[in-house]
């Protein structure tokens, strides 16, 4: 039997020994303490629900970072293979066949994968440690959070790096195979057939994007998260493909405008961008980084906004009182306290099973339909009068109102019958309405009438009281009034503060990860530019040899950088909006239908970052070519 401490407590938390079966312990404690309500502090399902949006966002980031890494490795390997061509030629000329040289290159890529994997695992653990430290704010400040990961996790991450390196390298390796020995050995430039911007290619890209959008509306609830993930990948592929068409189109149409603003330098810059795979790669990387950062910031920001505002927008009172024994006598005493303007007693039942299944509703609230809306509120599709009318329906039979989240989760619609598992067995309730609320783990609660709850669940005590009072000394007064009731009082301000601190952790983690994406992108840009450094030096030397002045060279580079930044930023913003749209469906699929709020300042910020990153990376390159000798470059020394 549990022995309650002498001091006033309303809730007692029990820590079980590690080898104790939880189910049995719960049953035993309930049987031995019939006057107490014994339940999990947090059920497995609740923990899973709570962590779902965190996990899903992590997966979305993983997909995006993998695509970004693939692209960076792929473009790097294309250049690396060009450098390896003389060696490949030598091998081929002494009898190595295409298969052997391909295996050699793929083996090389796997070595990079192994090295990257080892380094990545160590770096990953370091980042994980930083992320955990970042999350230990607010109510977790003094909690010792242990990093738990298994060897399997590390092996999977390592293998992922190796696979990513090999897969990314395969395409350039296969294209190297197409070259003849003569071409390689003599270092002869091959005549290529450059793919022109075709209407068919554009249409294929458009179809991919349309397919990405279409997949979101596939009416399969069970596989929704899979379809949404495919939709995300298709959107990124479609956006990748369509970007080069957009650049080509705009570069062709804006020649006059550029000529007007930047003179012939603008014209040359625009022509360079149009046909340069390096510039297009830069735009693509910027696009993906901007889109990722915008979507992560927007989705995280929206969740945090909802969490922060859920208390202030749902509760219209000043304090919550909780105690074990809040009956009518307690209520009468409470309403007679002079400093209390108004009060509301709420009956509720936690973890109610429905429809003979493991499906549960976290909280079923039994409400007094006459004054519930004076203390609590929620979003409703309809007017205030309709909302009131919907609430009043609860008094006319066994009726229930559920959140959209629950309706969606359990595939229910209005007028459906749900069977609630009560103390007296199953009782059928008719769904008479739905509403939007993020209280109780993102809206895992339903409303029935007070009378029905009391009757079906044999509840006599209130679970909590809401009070309105402007007296700052009300808490002291309440403790004096109810010295033996073990009451706990929480002010709404305290609740708001707690929810803010708790959401800060998520914000810190995701903002940190968004920064990682931006950093990867910036290094990707630099990597891309450095990989094409020799070609760029040569081009600059050619242009200098036919009379380009240094200042004109800088102007051309600056216009190129600005244009790439603007393209990357704008297309990134559009792609970001697409990912945000998909995120809405992902949230819905995991039963967290948070309302996404678009914040224009986030878009402006990341557009500016794209622009600055682009200019900085080009400036970096320009600095490196500042003192080059034209003749040496031309001679190729």
């Amino acid at each position: 039997m549990l022995k309650l401490p002498q001091e006033s407590v309303s809730e007692l938390y029990v820590v079980l020994k590690t080898d104790v079966d939880k189910e049995n312990a719960l049953q035993k404690l309930s049987d031995e303490n019939p006057e107490l309500k014994v339940d999990y502090s947090y059920s497995e399902e609740e923990i899973e629900e709570e962590s779902k949006n965190l996990i899903v966002q992590m997966y979305v980031l993983l997909i995006i970072i993998s695509i970004m890494s693939f692209y960076i490795i792929y473009s790097s390997f294309k250049v690396l293979i060009l450098e390896r061509m003389p060696v490949i030629g030598t091998f081929r000329s002494i009898g190595a066949n295409k298969r052997q040289t391909s295996l050699m290159l793929i083996f090389e890529s796997s070595v990079y994968g192994v090295l990257g994997g080892i380094l990545g695992c160590f770096t990953g653990l370091l980042i994980l440690y930083i992320v955990v430290r970042m999350s230990m704010t607010g109510n977790l400040e003094n909690v010792n959070i242990e990093l738990t990961f298994s060897v399997i996790d590390i092996i999977i991450a390592f293998l992922w790096a190796v696979v990513l390196a090999i897969v990314s390298a395969i395409l350039p390796v296969l294209s190297a195979n197409k070259k003849s020995i003569k071409t390689i050995v003599l270092n002869q430039p091959e005549i290529k057939q450059v793919k022109k911007s075709s209407f068919v290619g554009f249409m294929i890209s458009l179809i991919i994007i349309c397919a990405a959008i279409g997949l979101l509306y596939v009416p399969f609830k069970k596989g929704a998260i899979v379809f949404d993930s495919i939709s995300l990948v298709l959107l990124i592929i479609g956006a990748f493909r369509i970007t080069s068409y957009i650049i080509h189109f705009i570069a062709s149409k804006f020649e006059k405008l550029y000529s007007l603003f930047f003179g012939n330098a603008g014209l040359i810059a625009l022509k360079n961008i149009k046909n340069s795979s390096e510039s297009i790669n830069n735009v693509l990387l910027l696009t993906l980084a901007v889109a990722t950062a915008i979507s992560v910031f927007t989705v995280t920001g929206s969740i945090v906004f909802e969490i922060n505002n859920v208390v202030s927008s749902s509760y219209h009172f000043d304090y919550i009182i909780k105690s074990q024994s809040m009956n009518d006598e307690f209520r009468d005493k409470l309403v007679n306290i002079e400093e209390i303007q108004d009060s509301y007693g709420l009956f509720s039942q936690r973890n109610v099973s429905i429809n003979d299944s493991e499906k549960t509703i976290n909280v079923v609230e039994g409400i007094d339909t006459h004054n519930y809306l004076d203390f609590r509120s929620f979003d409703f599709e309809g007017t205030e009068a309709e909302k009131k009318k919907c609430i009043e329906k609860l008094d006319s039979g066994k009726n229930i109102i559920m959140t959209y989240m629950l309706m969606d989760k359990y595939d229910l619609k209005e007028n459906d019958i749900v069977s609630l598992e009560t103390n007296d067995g199953k009782v059928d309730y008719t769904v008479v309405g739905s509403f939007y609320s993020m209280l109780e783990s993102g809206g895992n609660y339903a409303l029935i009438s007070e009378e029905n709850l009391k009757e079906d669940f044999n509840i006599v005590n209130y679970s909590q009281f809401y009070i309105k009072s402007e007296d700052p000394a009300i808490e002291t007064k309440l403790f004096l009034e109810f010295p033996n009731d073990n009451i706990s009082i929480t002010s709404i301000d305290e609740l708001i503060e707690v929810s803010k601190k708790s959401s800060e952790q998520k914000t810190n983690i995701f903002n940190g990860l968004s920064c990682v994406v931006i950093i990867i992108c910036f290094f990707g840009l630099l990597n891309n530019l450095i990989m094409n450094y020799l070609e760029r030096r040569k081009t600059k030397a050619i242009m200098r040899s036919i009379g380009m002045t240094k200042s004109k060279g800088i102007l051309i580079v600056l216009v190129e950088a600005l244009t790439c930044g603007i393209f990357g930023g704008l297309i990134g913003v559009a792609e970001g909006l697409g990912i945000i749209h998909i995120s809405k469906f992902v949230m819905k699929a995991i039963n967290k239908p948070y309302a996404i709020k678009i914040n224009p300042s986030v878009f402006v910020m990341f557009f500016t970052i794209a622009l600055v990153s682009s200019v900085l990376s080009f400036v970096f390159l320009e600095m490196k070519t500042r003192k080059m000798s034209i003749s040496e470059e031309i001679k190729g020394r």
């Binding site: 290529k192 961008i273 046909n275 009379g547 200042s551 000798s629 001679k635």
Partner: protein, 224 residues
């Protein structure tokens, strides 16, 4: 014939691992306007270096180079760029076209760099594209062209601004004999009909025979 290039006691050294390596030693020579000069010599004799000095792409260690009696050694970077843009056209062994620009844009590049309007050079462009036989390739990128075609583009680019001198570094060194012959005949024709001064560095005796003036370099010195 009037002299267009004067090379006065020019020396050029490179520094490799802190040690001075002389490439050109006290070169003195003049080149007449409208002539077709070939510079020959074994590898490492300093032919290309000499050509790049004439074009202001490099600076002599000592001595002076004058074009139309004006020293180019004393010019600053901007003035040298301007001189290359207006007075000199370059043709290189490996063509050196800008890979991101198509045939038309590569040919028009000197015009664009000179703050001039492309439409003012439309007639000149059409004439060159006709002479070089590239009229069906205007929209192609360099990587879509054969070596001979790329060299023709480089020649057209060198001529678009109507320069007085064309400097060619092994212009047919990377081409097959038939294409090489076609290119040399084109040079010769332009030299005869347009009066353009050609200075070419070559290893090929056949190519040198198109010229009317031969300079032989050995160990950094003029031997003929």
């Amino acid at each position: 014939m009037k002299k267009i290039v004067d090379v006065i006691d020019v020396c050029k050294s490179f520094y490799i691992a802190g040690e001075e390596v002389p490439i050109l030693k006290h070169i003195d020579l003049s080149i007449k306007k409208g002539s077709f000069t070939s510079i020959m010599g074994p590898s490492g004799s300093g032919k290309s270096t000499f050509l790049y000095l004439l074009g202001g792409l490099d600076e002599p260690t000592s001595g002076d180079i004058q074009i139309n009696k004006k020293s180019i050694v004393k010019l600053n970077d901007k003035q040298k760029s301007n001189m290359r843009l207006k007075n000199i056209g370059f043709v290189f062994q490996f063509y050196n076209l800008v890979p991101t620009l198509n045939v038309r844009d590569n040919i028009m590049l000197p015009v664009l760099l000179d703050k001039k309007k492309a439409k003012d050079y439309e007639e000149r462009y059409k004439e060159l594209i006709e002479i070089t036989g590239l009229s069906k390739r205007e929209r192609n990128l360099p990587c879509e062209l054969s070596g001979g075609q790329q060299q023709r583009v480089a020649i057209a680019r060198a001529l678009i601004n109507d320069p007085e001198i064309i400097l060619a570094d092994e212009p047919i060194g990377n081409l097959d004999s038939i294409t090489g012959k076609e290119i040399m005949e084109l040079f010769s024709k332009l030299n005869r009909e347009k009066g353009v001064t050609f200075i070419q560095v070559t290893h090929s005796l056949e190519a040198s025979e198109y010229g009317d003036n031969l300079i032989k370099l050995k160990d950094g010195k003029v031997i003929k």
